[in-house]
Structure formats: structure tokens, C-alpha cells
Symmetry: D2
Subunit: 337 residues, 4 copies
């Protein structure tokens, strides 16, 4: 159930495919772990939300990105997030959770959970974060069989969903740029919509991939590149999508607050409350983000006038009848596509 | 499974009861919604973590705190969080999810999930956040029957677990200070360990409750009080526990980043990355927080030397063999109590 | 993911509505608790499968039907069952798990899980089985507000889904035949597709309801009626649907086997195995029911010829290449609607 | 929460280890998929309940036993079953769901869910039922690393839990009796409590294993052996445990009923109801099995006298105040260990 107003029209997968194929590139979204991260992303106008496997593991389970996550845990979180926002959601599906036959179940479940896109990587299981040492690859044949299974399953459920093949061949044992190119070619030939090359080490390496596949929907994450890639380079290299990890922004801010509070005590929090009083997420602003006023609209529609008198006869800092200044709630039963 | 080192000895519930009964008051912890929030809280030295129902609804589901959450959703999150940290975890159980008989199942499940404490409030279902208009109360008899059921169930499973009765009588329809005092007395008589009075409107009102129950374990949340309560007042009033909501700190920081990034683009993120490079949670510091190095320790223990050669033969910004500077991982199989 | 072939064409909800509105009445299905019960029902040619709240509680949780089940537990089981069969699935939603506002979430989740129909009853929470003493009712106004919320939510998601109002007014405190008629009228006026009157005490009482609402989609369960209602009476009274509880059939048979085995030991089981050797569900016939041969079809499509050599080079009583005599598996990627 | 009376004293894992180590052999239990299967098993006096992976896949998901099940799905079902009965529960953990590091998480979660024992097999993932063609093995070194990880994790949580190593080496590609013996030796040396050899083809083969490991806790499933093994042979071979699959008994009975009902209609069900009227599981006997009378005991303890008047003032075929003839409910708050 979603209580926020929709920000897109039509089916999220259709819209996601349109954005990626028609451009302009890059399509800009955010990556994170929870429905809250997704609602912040939607409320500030970004185009898609990406569910990061790494952030899901650390945020929801307190575990490192080392192959501990399982399909049902990812599916359940995907379902919650796809319910919480209207913008397209793309899902990190790790290795696909088994061989090509398991990939059939994985893609089936992720699409039914509401995803507009997903990617599967070519690491052996248990995988690890693409920027961590110790990565290994499955054979190109086994990877191709997974992507073929993914594409067929997608075709039978919703042809608009984007299937992206991620290769970790740049940094993995036995990998390198030649292996990257060989794998991208094989994966595109297997029918995936998009390639995603993890951990390229320089802008030049990104350029090499782009030149080898001039028309491909091509994603690259730049976190091994120094100095940092610029917006101009992203644009010139025609990377199809970008998106920071907002979970990290929150983590640093919370950590700093905790250190300050450990020293300064309650005053640190009351000062912060005073400072953020009129911030859209200060006070009880979170309620507006989730669409709390829509609850009161539903109550007016379904409950008796007597039941609603409680709003007059009770105390509260937050009044759902006047909330909602910062973020738009859904109108009545618009809480569904 | 927890890969972080334990910060407490013994059972969390025993430690929580000891801290609350022996003092010093207030016991200082943090409230939030996820395993990540709990690990940040533990890593910065706080004494307990509280799972906020309001924050769970907004963070994991994108829903307002208006009675949508159900028992299994709370239990699953409790289990994940209690696995992720060693410090005591106290859980917001809303109305207990039904009548006294349902409370038996609720307390049973929450304790089995690993909680060291829990509170149940005296609102009618569906409830709403204690600072929101429109709250209503169940009868004092029905509330007492729930607390008796909670205490008995606790006794049969783990007598150390703290049962806290929360009353929303200050702000609810038909409520007021007299009703608060009447209910606190009845709930303490029913055997709860602690009272929690929501939405008191002034320091004077807190004092009134404290004076009526001079020895009680008494919690009050001060978010309706202006000017903000001070550490000195908290201390003088002998409130047994305090704890800010760190979820909000993260929300404001992420929102501000999103607005900046929407304007300034990729440079905003690379600047942030540069600025936080040596921050404990910058770069891939999150992996340290979750105890990633313990994975590599387990690999050394269980996998063949050949399997470990991959660390030499692969590229990665993060190396689990040298990570772990900022936060202590578990030693080998210490990932369990 | 479903590996069995579909037995219906088109959307299950559309087909369910067509069957109920076009007849012939009664539409005959079965009630039970699990995907296995549903697959047995589909494989033997019945028209729909009903998920019984009572059987779900006892089968999956070992709990009585007394208001312990929660929304997510029902939703998850609904999702699994709707994946496992193609025939329409109708879901017992107890009281709707809260007030009218909670009903919005309930109907939203149950429909998204794949249900073709659902019913909500007018008992107070926690409810109990309709044939158990101790039932109480909510007010007619509160019930109507739930059904209005259910119908609106359904309209916004899938107008074909059947919303059925169940009244327990016959046996509940303060109830009786007059109350039954009053409530049926109010619920039909609120827009539900069908009424379901629980625990009517005689064929005459069923006739009274039928005569009061001559054109309504009307369900009645006859388990308080002695002597048992006949097929001719069901037909003459134009009850819209019937369906035994197959869970009970299994329970009695398993109990009797356990008692026999406790006395006779291993020979009892080997005799049973010998006797059922050529039964469709004897030996490893269960694998055929689930569509195991479709796994091998997928393997032939996606895996390498070398990978398939293992079938020649391994031993097994069951060979997925030749299984499937009793039940039809899905063709290749037909594992989706 | 369990409402049935406990049938064992003390911790289930301690009791399970005692039974297996002190004998007499075989310890006789039953295998199935759900809490209902476990309660039937307990109510008829058997010593343990085994959660079969194959039956869980088919019963709860309608899927074949071919490596589709995941850790959280197995854990959740284990938790429900361990709540529903007091007798020891042993859990089929397939391949352990990954490598030795994943096995740490698997064993941790299964033990926390309440299991008294578990087994992990030496097949490659995705696995298949041990009686199905197409099985393949991981290397003996990789298997040993999993069992070492399992034993260490068990030691840190509950040393009484039984860890059983299952080898599929008899029927898998490259396997045979020599490989069976080689693997059993290695696994016992790795510290497992018990070996489980799947799909031995004759009584002689069982004897060969028994003679090679005269003192081992040794389990063998006889479903590839013709003629069927006898109780005397089981005893003479000192197999440590036996247990039929009761799920199959129910499946055959339900299938036969469905075929009959499809032909004979409602009369078939009313005849069955008449015939089973005084059967412990006939009528509403299922409620007794789950311990329904304990609900009413709790109500008497916690609810007001007025609330209990509803039993006098409502109709019902089943009265929880007089139910419970067939099976013993828990006394008051005995619903927990």
C-alpha cells in the first residue's frame, strides 16, 4: 500500500525502458537499501531507485557484502520498496542465487515483486562487493546460460523489464580488460538489454568499453577511479545511468551525531532539533514523506463522524489534517497503480 | 550471525535489567529502525538500542505510524537487529497486536527474537504515534489484562526481560494528568517493571509523575516540551532512560544531499567522497562496521590455501585482510553468544 | 515460479468472476492450507482453491483458529499458493486485520499476492472459527465501512476480484436470523459481490436467506446442519459455491497410519509403499505433481550438453526425463501467466 | 507460542542427543513438512520430527526437490515447527546453502530457530532429491570444510545439537561404495556426530557401511532397496534412526478423496464426515490437536467475567471449554520452555 501520490504515469518498467532507450543519458537515480531511501529519492525528483545488495546486507542485516544475502530476503525488500514509491526500481540480484535454473526463479520473483529492472553478475557464489579483493568468475558459458534464462523469463512476464549483465571481470582472478570485452560481447549477444562493468580502473578503461560497444546501454561505477570522474566525462562516455549511494551519506551523518552526543549529551539533540525545526524532515516531517494525511482522508471516507471527533478531543504535535505541506500524499484510493 | 565483536558479557537481558535497576540513570541509548542503526549505536559506545515502531514503519515500509505494522514484521526486524549487535535491544510493540491473549503470542515471539525489553501501549488499535492527534485509549481493565499476560509470559521465558507499560493517556481522548496517574498505578500494580508516559507537556508534568511514583523505573519522551528538557532536568527527575532517534539525523542529511546533488550533479558526490575519505564510515568503512574481516578469518580457517590465493590475484579498493581498523570484528567463531 | 502446466486461460480473477456470475452453481472447489493442497485440487479438476484461515493456522503454525494469524502470514501463504496453481484462489481474510483503514492494506496485499477472491467477516478481533462458541460481532456500521473500503481498494487494483462479506451473526452473541438478514442487506448495499452466511443451523435457515436475496451470490457452510445437506438441496437453494476441507481428509489418514505404525512398525510402511506403488502419488509421484520434468526441460534449454551427461552417469529411482506420466508439467517457459 | 502440553522434559537438543547416544536404536520418528505433521507425530508418541527438504518444497511451495529452497524459507518453517511441538526436530539443510562460510550462517540460523539436529549433504548446488538421477558431488575437501564449519558453529551455540553429514556418493556421478566409505571416514574425522548415507541399493550395502564404522551413529534411507528392508534388519544393522514420510500418506488419501468426490459429489464428503465423527481428528478434532482449550484457560485468567459470558450467549458446534478430550493442551502459561 502506498499513501504517497504517484510521480509517474503508467507502468514503472515501461517508463524505465523508455528513459533508458530514449535518454537523455545518464538517467540519474539513487542507490540505497530501504523504502525510506526510495521515498527520499522520489520526493527530491530523481528518476529511479536502485536497491544495492551491499547496502541491503549492511543496513537490514548488519552483514558485509560477501554472499550472505538470499533470494527471499532480497525479494521481500524489493516488494516493500516497490510498494513505497512509484518511480522505477532496479534490483541488484548478486549472482542470481544459483545456476541458470535458479535464475528462472530469481527473475520470476523479482519481477513479480514489482522491479522495473535487475542485474545479475558473473561472480562465483558466494560473491563479494565488486570493489573488494578476492573476486572470482564463473565461466563465460555458465554466465551466458544465466542471462539467457533471465531474458526468457522476463519475456514471459513483462518484456519492458530491463535485464542488465554485470561483469566483475576487470578485478577478478583471471580477469582484465580483454576478458571484460569478451564477456560484454557474449552477454549482449545472449540478449541482455544492458551491460554493467564493475570496477573499471580509469576513465580510459571506460572509454575502451564504450568504443567497443558504441550503442550499448552501458553502466560503469567509478569508485576505483582517481581523480573522480566528472559529469562531463560521464556525459561524453554516454554512460546510461548514474547514482550515488545515499545510505553512506546517512551513515556518516549519524556517526558524527553519535560521537557528538556521546560527548555533549542531550543538548546536542535539542540543538539539532531546534536547528532542523523547519526542515522538511525535521520534527515529524517524516510523516509527511510517508503520506500520513492520506490516512485521515481515508478515515473521512470510511469512518463515522463520531470516530473523527477524536481529532478535536486529543492533543498532538502533529495533526494529519494539516500535515502534508512538504510532500504530496496520495488522493484517496490512488494508493495503487 | 554476527561478525562484530561483542561489547557486553553475558545475556543482554540480564545486562539490561542490571543497568536499569542499578543505574546510574538515565541509561543512554539510541532509537532507530534497522540493524545498521543498531551497529552504529553499539560502535559508538551507547548502552542499548531501541527499535522504534514509528521509524520501522517509515524506514522499512514507507508507511506512517498509524497502526499498519503487524507482529511478524516487527519480530523479523527484531531478530535481525538482535543478531547484529550484542547490546540490549528494547522493542516498541505498539498495542501488543490484539487483546491479552494476542499479547501472549507477541511477548513470546519478541523474547524469542532476542529482545532484552519491550513496551506495550494502552491505545486502541489501530494506534498512532504518541505525538499525533487522534489517539484513543482502551479501558484500564483491558490494559491491565494485557500487562498481566505480558508479565506472565515473560516470567516463563526469561525473567530478566524488561516489560514496560506505555500510557498515551496524557494526550488521548478522555485523558489528562489524573488519568495518567491512575493508569501508572494500575500498571505498576499489574507487575510491569517500568512505566513510560508518552507526550507529557511540560517538565512540571514529568515531575508530577515522578513524585507520585518516586521509585519507579520511569521513562518519558520530551518531544512536546518547549523549551527542550535539559540533561540536568532529566537527571534530577531520575528518568531511567533517554535516547534520541538517529533515523531522523540520517534523513535530514540525506535529504540535504539529494537537494544539493539535484542542483550540482556528480561533483557534489565526488566532493563528499573526497571530504569523507578518512572518515570511519567513508569509502568502504561500512564493511568494517559489519565485521567484514571476520569473513576472511573464517575463510582462512575453513577454506584451502588455494582458495585464498584469490586475494593475491584480484584487484580491490577494499581488502578484508587489512580492513577493520575502525571497528573490531568478531574473533573467529565468536559470532554467537 | 510454477512448473506445472496451466489449466485455465486468462486471468484467474476474470475466470473466477465469470464462473460465479455465469454459473452453473455451485462452483465446486476445495479448501485447505498449502500449495500442495492447491496442486492436488487443480490436478483433479476442481474449479477453485480456497485458503482456509482455520487450516492455515493449524497446518502451518499448529495454532487454533482463534485470531492468532496476522496479515503478512496470510499474504505470504497466498503468494506461494497463487504461484503454485493456475486456478482461481479465494482467501479467508478473517476480520480484515483491523478497522476499515487496515482493510485497505489487507485487500491491497491479498490482491497483489494473486488472489481471485477474498472474504472478510464481521466478528470482533480476535476472531474465532465460525463453528466455535464465543463469537462476538462488530457493529453493522463498522462492518459496512470495512466492506466499502474493501470494494474501493479492489476497484483500484483489479475489478474482477470477488469481495465476499461473511457474517457470523447466526451464532454470535446478540445474533440470530433477523440479524443475519439485516446484515446481508447492508453488506450487499455496500457493494460486496457475494454474501457468505456462517453456521446456519438448518436447510430451512438457508432457504430463508435465499428467499430474502433471490439473486445474490450466496455461500453457506453446512457443518452445523444435521442430517447433512444434500447435493440436491444445494442445487435447489442455488448456493454459489461449495468445497470440502481436504486438509481434514489428510489428517485422519495420517493419524490412522501413525497409530498403525506405532503398533506394527516398519512393515506397516513397506506394506503401504507396496500397495501404493502404482498410485499417482505413490513412490515419487509427488515430483510429477510439482512438475519436476519441467526442470529437466529447462536444463536442456540452458545448460551445456556436458552438464546433462550426469543423467546417464548417476543412479536414481526417479528420472525427471521420464517422469510426468501422471500430471502435466509446464512447457519450457510457460511457468508464468 | 505453543498451546499443547510438552511431552518431554528439558531441552529438546539434550534429549535428542541422549536418545541417539544411549539408544535403543533405531530412534523412531516421522518426516514431513509442516507444524501439523509435527503435532500429529508428537500426539501419537513418536520420538522426533524430521523436516524433509523435499516435502517442504512440495508442500509449501509446490516445487520439486531440485535446489529451489533457500535458507530463510527453511529457517522460518523450522521456527514454526519447533514452536508447535516439544519433541526434538531435525532439519534437512540441503547443501548448507553455499560454501563453508555460508554454512556458518546456516547452522547459526537453524539452531536459533530451535532445531535439535540438522544434516548437510555433499551434493553440488542446485541439489536434487537423493533418489533422483542427475546428482553430482562437491570435492571431499570442500565437504569437509563445510562440516568443520558446522561443528564449530554448533559448539559455540549449543553443543547438544546433532550435526549429521549426508553423503549422496552412492548414486551421484563418479560415486560408488568406495567413495561412500572414503567420505564417511573423512566426515566423521571432521567431527560430525552422525553419518547419513543416501540411496544405498541393498541391505548388503548398508551392512558394508555398518561394518566399516561399527560404532557410528549411522542413518540410511532404504527407498531404493527391494524387497523392503525389515524391522529386524534395521535392528541388526543398528541404524540409529528411522522414520516414514507422513506427508505421502496424506497425499494419497487426499487424492483418492478428490477423485471420489469429483464423481460422487457432496454425498462423498457427508459420508466421510459421518464415518469419522468420533475419530480424534474428525469434526473439529483438529482444534484439540492444536490445544484450543488453552485459549479458553488463558481467557479465564486474563479477561473479565463479562467477556467470558459470550460462551453462554453464542452458538457453536465446538466448545473450547469442553474440547480437549483427545489431546492434552498446555496448562496455562506452560506454552514455553
Amino acid at each position: 500500500m502506498r499513501l504517497r501520490a504517484s510521480t509517474i504515469k503508467g507502468k514503472a518498467s515501461t517508463e524505465f525502458r523508455r528513459m533508458l532507450t530514449e535518454g537523455p543519458w545518464p538517467v540519474v537515480g539513487m542507490w540505497g537499501a530501504t523504502a525510506h531511501h526510495a521515498q527520499l529519492t522520489e520526493a527530491t525528483g530523481f528518476k529511479y531507485f536502485g536497491i544495492s545488495g551491499s547496502h541491503t546486507a549492511s543496513h537490514l542485516f548488519g552483514l558485509p557484502d560477501a554472499g550472505f544475502m538470499t533470494l527471499p530476503e532480497i525479494v521481500e525488500n524489493t516488494r516493500r520498496i516497490c510498494q513505497a514509491v512509484s518511480i522505477p526500481v532496479i534490483v541488484d540480484c548478486d549472482t542470481g542465487f544459483g545456476n541458470a535454473i535458479n535464475v528462472v526463479r530469481t527473475v520470476d520473483e523479482i519481477i513479480r515483486a514489482g522491479a522495473a529492472g535487475l542485474f545479475i553478475e558473473d561472480q562465483v557464489a558466494p560473491k563479494r562487493c565488486g570493489f573488494v579483493k578476492g573476486k572470482e568468475l564463473i565461466s563465460i558459458e555458465d554466465a551466458v546460460s544465466k542471462y539467457r534464462a533471465a531474458v526468457d523469463t522476463r519475456d514471459s512476464l513483462d518484456p519492458d523489464v530491463i535485464i542488465q549483465a554485470r561483469t566483475d571481470a576487470r578485478g577478478a582472478v583471471g580477469g582484465g580488460m580483454d576478458e571484460v570485452l569478451r564477456r560484454c560481447e557474449a552477454y549482449l549477444k545472449a540478449g541482455v538489454d544492458s551491460i554493467y562493468v564493475e570496477a573499471l580502473q580509469s576513465v580510459e578503461e571506460i572509454r575502451t568499453v564504450r568504443e567497443a560497444f558504441p550503442d550499448a546501454l552501458f553502466k560503469a561505477t567509478p569508485y576505483a577511479i582517481e581523480p573522480a570522474i566528472t559529469a562531463e566525462e560521464i556525459s561524453e562516455l554516454r554512460l546510461c545511468m548514474t547514482g550515488p549511494q545515499i545510505h553512506k551519506i546517512g551513515a556518516v551523518a549519524m556517526y558524527d551525531f553519535l560521537i557528538d552526543y556521546a560527548k555533549g549529551g542531550e543538548k546536542v539533540f535539542s540543538d539539532w532539533n531546534a536547528k532542523t525545526k523547519s526542515h522538511p524532515l525535521g520534527g515529524f516531517g517524516m510523516f509527511d514523506l510517508t503520506g500520513f494525511p492520506a490516512v485521515q482522508e481515508m478515515e473521512q471516507k470510511y469512518l463515522s463522524p463520531e470516530a473523527l471527533e477524536r481529532y478535536e478531543n486529543s492533543l498532538g504535535v502533529y495533526d494529519p489534517r494539516t500535515g502534508g505541506s512538504a510532500f504530496a500524499p496520495a488522493k484517496k484510493t490512488e494508493n495503487s497503480e
